[in-house]
């Protein structure tokens, strides 16, 4: 009976020991939102396993400078200037056997940028405008506005055939059908919203007239026709002179020349 007690007590203590010595990482802060700088720290507690070192991972890529061989269960990463590029998922990794890691999310406002700030379209043709976003977290909502007289009118997808909006978390495309010079020239604003807020960017749309390319085309065709005419007229003018020049010598020297030519031609074959 006593033996049974001892064994069960041993087993229980072992189990509890395992539970209580499971490595635990305390992160400070647990999440970074909309800050210009931060210091991320990880504290490895309740672990008896030897630590060979530690490093940090940003969005799946190891940060080379954060690699350290310190055996301390404490590691920090300084983010001096948080921009949309430095946002994302940060993981602190302790090189124990097995590895233990913990994630800290660094969230920023979305960074919305237009592919091209000035877009061209042809009249009665299709015009497309694209905005992309980088950062973390990616926008969940995209909206397009058209700037008219200082006010922004939203463009809603699906109401008319004219506008088509296709959005994915990192890219949005506004397609305008049947461009017209009077109505569609102007500024368009794309804005992306995530849990922290909204940012937007502006694109200027220019619509080219269908006939814009026609004038240079006609101009060059006219130039070609004029040049060809001049060349042919010049040639017609010179031709009668050339014929009289050619025939005179032929009469006097033809016999000698023919003989030379004929003899050589026969022999060279």
């Amino acid at each position: 009976m006593n033996l049974l007690w001892a064994v069960s007590a041993l087993l229980l203590s072992c189990w509890r020991a395992n539970a209580s010595t499971a490595p635990n990482i305390i992160t400070e802060p647990s999440e970074v939102s909309n800050q210009t700088s931060a210091v991320l720290s990880c504290n490895l507690t309740e672990s008896s396993l030897p630590i060979k070192g530690s490093h940090w991972i940003h969005n799946g890529k190891v940060i080379e400078k954060s690699k350290s061989g310190d055996t301390t269960p404490y590691t920090i990463l300084r983010l001096d200037k948080i921009t949309h590029n430095s946002g994302g998922k940060y993981e602190c990794v302790f090189l124990t056997d097995p590895e233990v890691k913990q994630t800290i999310e660094v969230k920023t406002l979305p960074h919305v940028a237009a592919y091209k700030h000035s877009e061209h379209g042809n009249e009665k043709d299709i015009g497309a405008m694209v905005c992309v976003s980088h950062g973390y977290p990616l926008p969940t909502d995209w909206t397009w506005f058209k700037e008219e007289d200082g006010a922004q009118t939203p463009i809603i997808n699906g109401t008319t055939d004219k506008y088509e909006i296709k959005s994915t978390p990192n890219k949005t495309t506004l397609t305008i059908n049947d461009l017209s010079i009077e109505n569609d020239i102007g500024d368009y604003i794309c804005s992306g919203t995530n849990e922290l807020g909204t940012t937007s960017d502006k694109i200027h749309l220019r619509v080219r007239s269908r006939l814009a390319a026609l004038w240079p085309f006609l101009g060059i065709v006219a130039e070609v026709i004029i040049l060809v005419t001049i060349i042919f007229i010049y040639e017609k003018r010179r031709k009668p002179d050339e014929i009289t020049d050619g025939s005179a010598p032929l009469k006097s020297n033809s016999t000698e020349n023919n003989k030379d030519k004929n003899v050589r031609q026969r022999n060279s074959n």
Partner: protein
């Protein structure tokens, strides 16, 4: 052998005068033929986005255009043999222009393939062959120089079209640009108008060959009438010959396949073209692969094009000198060999400086080769058969030209390194170079033998002609007596 080929012409080429205007016309035609397909690549990105197609589908456009240009060679030759250079070039110019204008209204990518690729390519073929052919009719003594100058059209037009295309693309979009390009290419018609058919009635200038036969005849002939009579006898026989040649020349001259020089040229060229264009195509990607930024990589191409531009007329001048002209085939073989050596050494050169050095030397090699490419063919087959020769050569070269870059690309993909591709291209140029040297040495020996043989026959025929005249004199003497 320039002397033998010249006598077959039956007239003396002007070697100047209006010939230089023709060279300018050929400059424009050749320039557009080679540079136009290359410069269209600037529009690919915009067209790709517009039609939502992949990059390989859009790259087909260039390939179709190049393929049509080479395949249209024989058709072009037949037309040039029949109608002369001028109408063919003008029709070609109109075709490319029409193709581009139609393409600007295109609704599908297939429409573009047909208009720009097929019609445009054929139009360019109609520009290339006649331009090369007409130089042969206008120049004999200064022909390498004329060829070198005309071939300079390619880099110069490319240099001009590339930034122009960028500007047009930004200002007018691809549709408007195609419309305007259609009108720019119409200038090929102006080039065609300049290609006046050469005047064959001009009295030949005193030639370098001693008129031995003539001298002997005048010594022994009594009157000018009898010499005219014997000349007439010979002329009739010759006219029949010319007529039978004319029938063959109406279509393509397939007897070229029995021509020794032509076969040497053809076989060497087929192997050479596998490694000809690929190094140019992959220069910028290789530079970027080595870690050089985009602008410096593009600058390499500019250096290459600039050196190419200046070396072509220089090569023409050099080929014209009295030391090189008689043995111009060796000069060509040297150019091919030099290309091969350049490519083989290139992967061993370190860093960006090494690449710049390579770009300069490769520009030199490429320019030399291009300037001589058609000059040596003219030298081998003579101006009369040149048009058929170039048609046959281009259609057979079509294969290597189209297969070369993709094969090289496959080599790069397999080995994940560009240097094996450059080694391969180097070998593809080295082997034909050596082959050309050996074969042309043999060919020159044979030609010298044939010339000696023909001179002997000439002397014999002269003696026969003189004897004929003497017997005729005797006859007329009898007639006047009796």
């Amino acid at each position: 052998m320039p002397p033998a080929a010249a006598t077959k012409l039956g007239y003396t080429p002007p070697d100047g005068g209006w010939g230089w205007a023709v060279v300018f016309g050929a400059f424009i035609s050749i320039g557009f033929s080679y540079a136009f397909p290359k410069s269209l690549t600037i529009y690919f990105k915009e067209i790709q986005e517009y039609f939502s197609v992949s990059y390989s589908e859009i790259a087909w456009l260039s390939s179709v255009m190049l393929a049509s240009m080479y395949a249209g060679g024989p058709v072009s030759s037949v037309l040039v043999n029949r109608y002369g250079s001028r109408p063919v070039v003008m029709v070609g110019g109109v075709m490319v222009s029409a193709g581009m204008v139609l393409a600007s209204f295109g609704r599908t990518i297939m429409h573009l393939y047909l208009c720009v690729g097929l019609i445009g390519g054929f139009g360019l073929a109609f520009n290339l062959q006649p331009a090369l052919t007409i130089i042969g009719t206008y120049f004999q003594v200064k022909r390498p120089l004329a060829n070198g100058l005309a071939m300079t059209g390619s880099p110069v037009v490319l240099f001009t079209l590339a930034p122009l295309n960028q500007f047009l693309c930004d200002t007018f979009g691809w549709r408007g640009s195609f419309l305007i390009l259609g009108s720019i290419v119409l200038n090929c018609c102006v080039a065609g108008a300049l290609m006046r058919p050469v005047n064959k009635n001009v009295r030949p200038k005193p030639t370098t060959e001693p008129p031995e036969c003539n001298g002997e005849a005048t010594e022994k002939a009594a009157t000018a009438d009898t010499s005219a009579q014997s000349a007439n006898l010979l002329t009739e026989a010759n006219q029949d010959e010319i007529k039978s040649q004319g029938c063959v020349h109406k279509f393509i001259d397939l007897s070229l396949f029995k021509h020794r020089g032509f076969l040497i040229y053809l076989i060497g060229n087929i192997v050479m073209f596998f490694g000809f264009f690929a190094p140019v195509v992959f220069l910028a990607p290789y530079a970027k692969h080595q870690g050089i930024d985009e602008y410096s990589a593009a600058f390499l191409l500019s250096i290459f094009a600039l050196v190419d531009m200046f070396i072509r007329p220089a090569t023409g001048l050099l080929g014209n000198t009295k030391w090189i002209r008689p043995r111009i085939q060796y000069f060509f073989s040297f150019a091919v060999l030099y290309n091969g050596v350049c490519h083989l050494i290139f992967p061993l050169l370190p860093g960006y400086v090494g690449m710049v050095v390579y770009a300069v030397f490769f520009g030199l090699a490429f320019g030399m080769l291009s300037a001589l490419l058609f000059e040596v063919l003219m030298d081998l087959v003579g101006p009369q058969r040149f048009s058929s020769a170039v048609g046959l050569v281009t259609i057979i070269e079509c294969g290597p030209v189209l297969l070369g870059p993709p094969l090289s690309g496959a080599l790069v993909d397999i080995f994940k390194d560009y240097k094996y591709m450059y080694y391969a291209c180097g070998v593809f140029m080295l082997v034909p170079g050596i082959y050309f040297f050996i074969m042309h040495y043999y060919n020159y020996k044979k030609l010298d033998e044939e010339r000696r043989h023909s001179v002997v026959v000439e002397i014999r025929t002269c003696e026969e002609a003189v004897q004929l005249k003497m017997s005729q004199d005797g006859k007329t003497g009898h007639e006047t007596d009796g």
